[in-house]
């Protein structure tokens, strides 16, 4: 049910209830008041009558008494009857023309010690209030006057009708006012409802007009404030969403890089393990193929020599001499193997001699001319820096020996306050750097990535410049200060894009 209808109905019910209460209350009050007035008036009139009839009654002038009683009943005081019981207690004077109704005599006896008595009688002529009082205090004479209450009933009915009509009018008026009030209250609420529906559909651009300063107006203002807050919140949410989306993209990119790095690390780890195994194989092979064979030959030779010692001392001495040379060769072979693993030059003399030795031993034997330039490096570098730079140089030199076909190789080592820089350049055949790096399992790509990983361990970076037929330059820069950035400083090309 509509709010305006509820207001009208509730108002009507309230007015009706109040109207009924008013009718009943006023009826009771008016009735009681009229009856009391009648009683008081009747008592006063009866006292006046008693006063008037006292002397004639005591003088025995009963006709005078009769005349007085009659005059009162005819005088329009609502007196229906009057009668007097004389002082002798036997004589009765009354106004009934057709005979005195005997029942009336005992209808309202005056109790002993009381000056008067009032009793309501129900008669054929309607309700009559009998007022009985002693004519004189001390005498047994009684005067009774009967006052009709018909006029009271008429007045009451009139009052009741008027109040009922007023109540009906009040109900109609109240309903009309309630309806108007309902419209006045409900209309802004309907506007709010329509706006709420629009907001539900996402339309936050409109606001309610808040004209009144009452509760509805305050509600409208609060509503508008709520819409503005919603707009601001949604705007901030959208900005946050955009920001999160950008961050999400960056995180995705970082994640990609991390994934690729993980792959690289995994490949490097495999490479390391493989290299380790290869190295062990090589060492095992060299030991087995060369050193072991040499040692076996030496053992045979020694056995033969020991057999010759007793038969031919001179031949035995010559054999032993030959075996001594073989032992020296074996020692040299072992020395080469060990040197290949980790040249003691590096630990004893430092990076520059180790690099020079590596380049000379690996390249000059292949007819490659090696030159080296060192500037700004007057003292030993930190061991890990020397190791990294040596390995990188060693890998570059190894690649030149295997693939470049170069005639000249130049090594340049330059030291500064906060970094050291190594460049290995050759005039070999060069290669397509991108293509090589894309070879995920290729030896050359792993070797290049290994160089970059090594440099990255100390916060450094490796740059590879090469073009086919134009030689290759590998540059590595290692900071001397504590480790800085991670992979972010490396050439993105090294990561394969």
């Amino acid at each position: 049910m509509k709010l305006s209808s509820k207001i009208v109905i509730i108002t009507a019910v309230i007015v009706m209830v109040m109207g009924l209460l008013t009718v009943f209350s006023i009826q009771a009050v008016v009735s009681r008041s009229l009856k009391e007035q009648l009683q008081d008036k009747g008592l006063s009139l009866a006292r006046v009558m008693a006063n008037d009839i006292a002397n004639p009654l005591l003088n025995g002038d009963l006709l005078v008494v009769q005349r007085i009683l009659k005059a009162v009943t005819e005088d329009g005081h609502s007196v229906e009857y009057a009668f007097v019981i004389a002082p002798d207690g036997k004589t009765l004077i009354h106004t009934f023309g057709d005979g005195f109704p005997e029942a009336l005599l005992t209808a309202n006896p005056i109790p002993a010690g009381r000056p008067h008595s009032i009793q309501l009688l129900v008669t054929e002529k309607g309700p009559i209030r009998d007022i009985g009082l002693k004519v004189l205090d001390g005498l047994d004479a009684e005067l009774h006057v009967g006052f009709t209450e018909t006029s009271i009933q008429r007045s009451l009915r009139r009052v009741t009708w008027i109040i009922a009509l007023l109540t009906l009018g009040g109900i109609a008026l109240a309903c009309g006012a309630a309806w108007l009030l309902g419209r006045y209250v409900v209309r802004p609420l309907e506007r709010l409802t329509r706006l709420t529906r629009r907001i539900g559909r996402g339309d936050l651009d409109q606001e309610v007009t808040a004209e009144a300063g009452d509760e509805v107006g305050i509600l409208a203002q609060s509503f508008n404030q709520m819409i503005r807050n919603l707009r601001e919140t949604i705007g901030r949410l959208k900005e946050s969403e955009e920001s999160y989306r950008l961050k999400n993209s960056e995180l995705s990119a970082v994640w990609g890089r991390l994934k690729r790095r993980e792959e690289v690390v995994s490949r490097l780890l495999k490479k390391v393990i493989t290299a380790q195994e290869e190295e062990r194989k090589r060492i095992a092979r060299e030991l087995h193929d060369e050193t072991n064979q040499s040692l076996a030959a030496l053992a045979v030779g020694l056995k033969a020599a020991s057999a010759l010692v007793t038969r031919d001392a001179e031949k035995a001495e010559k054999t032993l001499e030959d075996l001594k040379d073989s032992a020296v060769i074996i020692m040299r072979e072992l020395h080469n193997i060990v040197y290949d693993l980790r040249p003691t030059l590096l630990d004893d003399l430092g990076l520059v001699p180790a690099l020079r030795w590596c380049a000379e031993t690996r390249l000059e034997s292949h007819g490659v001319e090696v030159s080296m330039e060192v500037t700004g490096v007057s003292s030993r570098l930190p061991p890990e820096v020397e190791t990294i730079l040596f390995r990188i140089g060693q890998e570059a030199i190894s690649n030149i020996a295997k693939y470049a076909g170069a005639r000249h190789v130049h090594l340049c080592l330059r030291g500064a306050k906060d970094h050291v820089w190594l460049r290995v350049s050759d005039d070999g055949c060069g290669f397509d750097v991108d293509e090589v790096l894309r070879e995920k399992e290729g030896k050359r790509s792993l070797g290049l990535m290994g160089m970059m990983e090594r440099a990255g361990l100390l916060g450094g970076k490796v740059e590879v410049e090469s073009n086919i037929g134009a030689g290759t330059i590998i540059s590595v820069q290692i900071p001397i200060s504590p480790r800085g950035e991670e992979l972010d400083g490396q050439d993105s090309r090294a990561l394969g894009g």
Binding site: V13, P87, L120
Partner: protein
Amino acid sequence: MAARIRAIIRLIPGRTFAAVFAIVVFFGTAGCVNLEKPKKVSLTQTPVSRVRVPDQVNGSGVLYFGFDRRLDPSEDVKMYAPFLRYLERETGYRFKLRVTLRNGNIVEDLGTGAVQFAAIGTLSYLEANKRYGVQALVRGVTGQKKGEYQALIITAPQSKIRSIGDLKGRSFAFGSKTSTQGHLIPRIMLKEAGIDIKDLSSYEYTGSHFETANAVVSGRFDAGGIQDTLGRELASRGLVRVIAVSGYFPSSNISVAPNVPPDVVARVKKALLEFDPQGKDKGGLYHWEQSEMPYGFIQAADRSFAGVRQWAEKLNLLNPPAEGRQGP
């Protein structure tokens, strides 16, 4: 429609509705309920022309008190009614007033036992004592603080009568025929002045001091004999002029009928002697100062009436009543 009504009812919580309904019913029935208990009486059935009024008075144990009429009978009743309540309180007996009608006789009421006690004047007492043996119990103490009173002869203020002697051949108003101050004493005063009633041009018994005063003031009579207190009061207001004042005579008394038991008499007499209308018993009295015993009572003895008895005999006022009393 039913749905709407149900919707309306649902708007109002049950307890509220019940409370409102109870209030409406309460006020409604309160307004309609008549707390009185009316009696049903028929005004048209069994009308009778002669009605036997049930005896209102229970005669047993009730002492009736009568009085000589002086003022309006209603004023006399109003004055004696509270006095009887005093006697009831002091004696424990029930008293009722009995008013002697205008054509009645208090002396006969005393003699026949219609009343047991009566406040009567000296003349009435003398007659009652002679005829029935009525005895005076107490005498009233008058305004002069004694058990005696006087009578006055008055004229209108503008009258040319100056003394009793001027009353010969004039009209004269007496009070009640049984009145001492209104009849006996003025007769004595006239007799002492050498005037008999037949020397008057006319005379009349007005029935009361009040009517005598009226008759003189209105000019209907040239002079009148009246109670001293009333006469002095009227004179002080300039309504009458006093031309003669009598000597002192025994005041009004309260007498008792011969057949009243002695113990009752004794108790009533005691209460009368202890009556203090200006002191402790003043409350509740009605204009007692206008009575002939404004200061209470003193012991009465028959010998006190000897002098006035002689005059009454002399003036032949103690004979049995022949015709009815005069009255206005």
